[in-house]
């Protein structure tokens, strides 16, 4: 499976004021197979293979945690917010139902 991984995380480019909220955008390549589809040629069910959790850590806190099913679209885009308290990374971890894991981060700058 070549089309998997390459996680991306993007935060605001400009420095923020303390207490401002920062939009964090994330993207990863993943088939997000629900386990409910059949292969056209073989007629066999395609096994479930989807990201089941996305966790964003900032300042030592798991700020946002997403728990997904196979109903999230393939190559999932996901955005959320964090409250900018001090400069530092927002670390994002994706895990799929086969135990594979990806990490990527974005730096938040606070003036």
């Amino acid at each position: 499976m070549a089309d998997i991984g390459e996680p991306k995380v993007r935060g605001p480019e400009k420095p923020l004021k303390k207490g401002e909220v920062a939009l964090i955008k994330t993207l990863i390549k993943h088939p997000m197979e629900s386990g409910l589809r059949k292969d056209k040629a073989s007629g066999e069910t395609i096994p479930a293979h989807y990201i089941e959790s996305v966790v964003a850590e900032y300042g030592g806190v798991a700020v946002v945690k997403a728990t997904w099913t196979g109903a999230v679209s393939k190559n999932p885009f996901f955005s959320f917010y964090v409250k900018a308290d001090k400069s530092g990374p927002v670390n994002v971890t994706w895990k799929d139902n086969k135990g594979q894991e990806w990490k990527e981060k974005a730096e938040i700058k606070v003036e």
């Binding site: 909220v21 920062a22 088939p31 629900s34 409910l36 589809r37 059949k38 292969d39 056209k40 040629a41 069910t45 395609i46 900032y58 300042g59 806190v61 798991a62 700020v63 946002v64 945690k65 997403a66 728990t67 997904w68 099913t69 196979g70 109903a71 999230v72 679209s73 393939k74 999932p76 885009f77 996901f78 955005s79 959320f80 917010y81 964090v82 409250k83 900018a84 308290d85």
Partner: protein, 163 residues
């Protein structure tokens, strides 16, 4: 099952292109999933019960939550789903979780999002799959257990591969 399975398959062959993996979508109760057969007419699962299980018991107040999506989606494999909750995110008064359901998907729960006061804002955006037109529900729960929700019926021009 049986009689209409074949025509259903034919009708659904084009969906392989949507999935772009050469696979055919199998929607609820159509092929190979007899246990879900009745889901075509009546939802096999009660979403209110799912909400109670996932977020806690109580009446859902139809306020504060917004699903910012057009009522018609062109592609059921990629339905843009921005959801926001207009609620403070303070230490003792914040939105703890948000769950998203598509009533008519084989598995209605799309995802659940857990927040902290440090989130600053209970707002997320994602893309979801919808097999066909359905009601979408976004239900949020505060740290005090208050439930808020928004329900939106979304038409789907081309069905995606459901959950």
């Amino acid at each position: 099952m049986g009689m209409n399975s074949e025509s259903t398959l034919t009708r659904r062959n084009f969906l392989g292109a949507v999935g772009a993996t050469g696979a055919v979508c199998v929607a609820a109760g159509l092929v190979g999933m007899p246990s879900l057969a009745q889901a075509e007419d009546a939802p096999a699962v009660n979403i209110d019960e799912l909400v109670a299980k996932d977020l806690g018991p109580g009446k859902v107040a139809m306020e504060k939550v917004k699903i910012d999506t057009p009522a018609k989606a062109e592609n059921g494999a990629l339905v843009r789903m921005p959801i926001s909750v207009d609620h403070p995110m303070e230490k003792d008064n914040y939105i703890k979780s948000l769950a998203v359901y598509v009533d008519d998907n084989p598995k209605p729960l799309v995802g659940r999002f857990d927040f902290t006061p440090e989130s600053g804002k209970a707002e997320v955006e994602m893309r979801i799959k919808m097999a066909k037109a359905s009601q979408v529900r976004a239900v949020a729960v505060s740290n005090k257990g208050a439930l808020y929700g928004a329900y939106l019926k979304i038409e789907v021009a081309e069905g995606g591969c459901a959950g």
